[in-house]
C-alpha cells in the first residue's frame, strides 16, 4: 500500500504530526486499511531521510510537526499523474486457491466456490449496510470531502466484491460445462468413476 505517497499528499494540505496524519488518513478511507502510529512514524523518518519532508519543530505538547518539501511536492504530483501499475497484478489468494483446487485431486471445487461466494456476499451485505446507514449516508456526506472520499472507498469495495462473485459464478458455470461434456463422452453403461473419461475415450 502506498502509505508513503498518501502521507505526503496529506501533508500538502498543511503541516501535521503523526497522530494527525493517521486520523486524516482514516477519515478518508474509513479505517478500511488501518495504520498504526508506529508505521506512520517510520514512514515519516524515511521520507525525511529522502528529503521529501522536514521537521519544523514541536508543538506545545511536544509533537514533531512535519511539512512537505519541494521534492515531496513533486513526488505527490508524479503519484497522481502516474497510473497504478497493472503489469504485476497483486497476488490474489483466491485465484491461487482455485487454481490449485481444480488441479489437486480430492478437493470439492464446488464447495470451495460456494463457501467463498457466501463469505463474499456477507461482506457485500456489510458494505451495503454501511453505505445505507453509516457516515457515508448522512446528509452532510455530500458536502464533507472526507465523507465523500470514504463513500468512494466503500464503492470500490462493493465493486470488488461484486466482481469476485461474478468471477465465482463464471468459474462454477465453466466447471459444470466441463463436467457435462465429460458425461457426454461416457457411453451408457460405462463405469462412471473415470477421472479422465475424455482421455480414455480419445484413446479408444
Amino acid at each position: 500500500m502506498s502509505v508513503r505517497q498518501a502521507l505526503l499528499a496529506l501533508l500538502e494540505q498543511g503541516p501535521m504530526y503523526g497522530y494527525q496524519l493517521r486520523a486524516e488518513f482514516e477519515r478518508r478511507t474509513g479505517s478500511t486499511w488501518p495504520l498504526n502510529v508506529g508505521q506512520v512514524y517510520t514512514t515519516l523518518a524515511r521520507l525525511e531521510r529522502d528529503g521529501l519532508v522536514e521537521g519544523t519543530g514541536t508543538d506545545d505538547e511536544g509533537h514533531v510537526i512535519y511539512r512537505v518539501t519541494e521534492a515531496g511536492e513533486d513526488e505527490v504530483a508524479a503519484w497522481f499523474t502516474t497510473p497504478v501499475s497493472r503489469s504485476h497484478p497483486p497476488r490474489d489468494e483466491l485465484a491461487i486457491k482455485l487454481a490449485l483446487a481444480v488441479t489437486v485431486p480430492g478437493v470439492d471445487v464446488g464447495a470451495v466456490i460456494q463457501g467463498q461466494r457466501t463469505a463474499t456476499m456477507a461482506a457485500l451485505q456489510d458494505y451495503t449496510r454501511l453505505k445505507r446507514t453509516g457516515r457515508a449516508a448522512l446528509p452532510g456526506a455530500a458536502t464533507d470531502p472526507a465523507d465523500l472520499a470514504w463513500s468512494l472507498v466503500l464503492d470500490s469495495l462493493v465493486f470488488a466484491a461484486e466482481a469476485e462473485i461474478r468471477w465465482l459464478d463464471h468459474c462454477e458455470a465453466r466447471l459444470r460445462r466441463v463436467a457435462a461434456t465429460r458425461d457426454d463422452v461416457r457411453r451408457p453403461g460405462e463405469a462412471p468413476a473415470a477421472e479422465n473419461a475424455t482421455d480414455k475415450a480419445a484413446r479408444r
Partner: protein, 240 residues
C-alpha cells in the same frame, strides 16, 4: 416472530416421464415481517418457480405454501386471486402490464378490482408512481414508455396499498445502476416498514440489500448468507 411467507418441504415437478423437470426439490424457505430475502442462482435453478409458488400463481407438487399462516392450497382459486390483489405484490420478470391501460390505470387496477373507489385507487396509484420516480408518466400507455419505465410501473403496482408480501422477479433487470439502486431503496423501505420481501436477482450488489441471501442450485437451497431474524432471536435468548 411469525413468518409472512413459508414454503414447507416444497417440491415442484413439471411434466412427467422422460420430460420430467424437478424445478424445486424439498425446499424450505421463509420470509418474516420486516425482512428482505434475496434469491440467487444460475438460470434454470428454480428462482421464478419459487416466486410463482409463493405468489399463489402455481401449486406445489408436494409440500405447502403458507402466507400469513394460511395454506394457499386451502384457499381455492378465488381466495388466492383475492390474496394476490390485497396482500401480495408481484413484480414479474417480464413486467406483465396491460397494454390498453395507462400507467396509473395499471397500478390502480388491483385495488379497483377489489372494490376500492376509483378516485381512491387512482390517488394511491399516483403516489406509488411518484415513489418510483415516474409520477409524470401516469397517463402514458406501456408502449409509450422505455423498458426501465415500464419496469417501474410494474414495481409501483406491486407496492401500492398495504401489501404484506412483496415478490419481485429481477425487478432491476432493465434499469441503470442509479435507478436500480432507487428501486432497492424502495423495497428496503417497504420491508423496514413491516412487509416481507423476496427479491430474485442475478446482481450481487442488489442482493446485498437483503437481510439474507439464499442460493439455489438445480432446485435445491445450497447455502445462505446473512442473519435470520428468528435465529438471532434464539441466540440472544441463549445469551441471557
Amino acid at each position: 416472530m411469525s413468518a409472512i411467507l413459508e414454503l414447507a418441504d416444497v417440491t415442484r415437478i413439471h411434466g412427467s416421464g422422460a420430460t420430467e423437470v424437478r424445478a424445486l426439490r424439498a425446499v424450505h424457505f421463509h420470509a418474516h415481517a420486516g425482512e428482505l430475502v434475496a434469491v440467487m442462482g444460475p438460470s434454470g435453478s428454480g428462482k421464478s418457480t419459487l416466486l410463482t409458488l409463493a405468489g399463489g400463481l402455481d401449486q406445489p407438487t408436494h409440500g405447502a405454501v403458507r402466507v400469513e399462516g394460511v395454506d394457499l392450497a386451502s384457499l381455492g382459486y378465488k381466495g388466492r386471486a383475492r390474496m394476490r390483489r390485497t396482500s401480495i405484490g408481484y413484480v414479474f420478470q417480464d413486467f406483465n402490464l396491460i397494454p390498453a391501460l395507462t400507467a396509473a390505470e395499471n397500478v390502480a387496477l388491483p385495488r379497483e378490482l377489489d372494490g376500492a373507489r376509483a378516485g381512491v385507487a387512482r390517488r394511491a396509484a399516483l403516489q406509488a408512481l411518484e415513489e418510483v420516480g415516474i409520477g409524470e408518466l401516469a397517463d402514458r400507455f406501456p408502449d409509450e414508455m422505455s423498458g426501465g419505465q415500464q419496469q417501474r410501473v410494474a414495481i409501483a403496482r406491486a407496492v401500492v396499498g398495504e401489501r404484506r408480501l412483496i415478490l419481485a422477479d429481477e425487478p432491476t433487470g432493465a434499469l441503470d445502476t442509479d435507478t436500480g439502486e432507487e428501486i432497492l431503496r424502495l423495497l428496503r423501505a417497504r420491508c423496514d416498514a413491516g412487509a416481507a420481501g423476496v427479491l430474485v436477482t442475478h446482481e450481487a450488489r442488489h442482493a446485498a440489500w437483503a437481510d439474507r441471501v439464499v442460493f439455489l442450485r438445480d432446485g435445491v437451497v445450497v447455502d445462505e448468507s446473512g442473519t435470520d431474524p428468528a435465529e438471532s432471536l434464539l441466540e440472544s435468548d441463549a445469551a441471557r
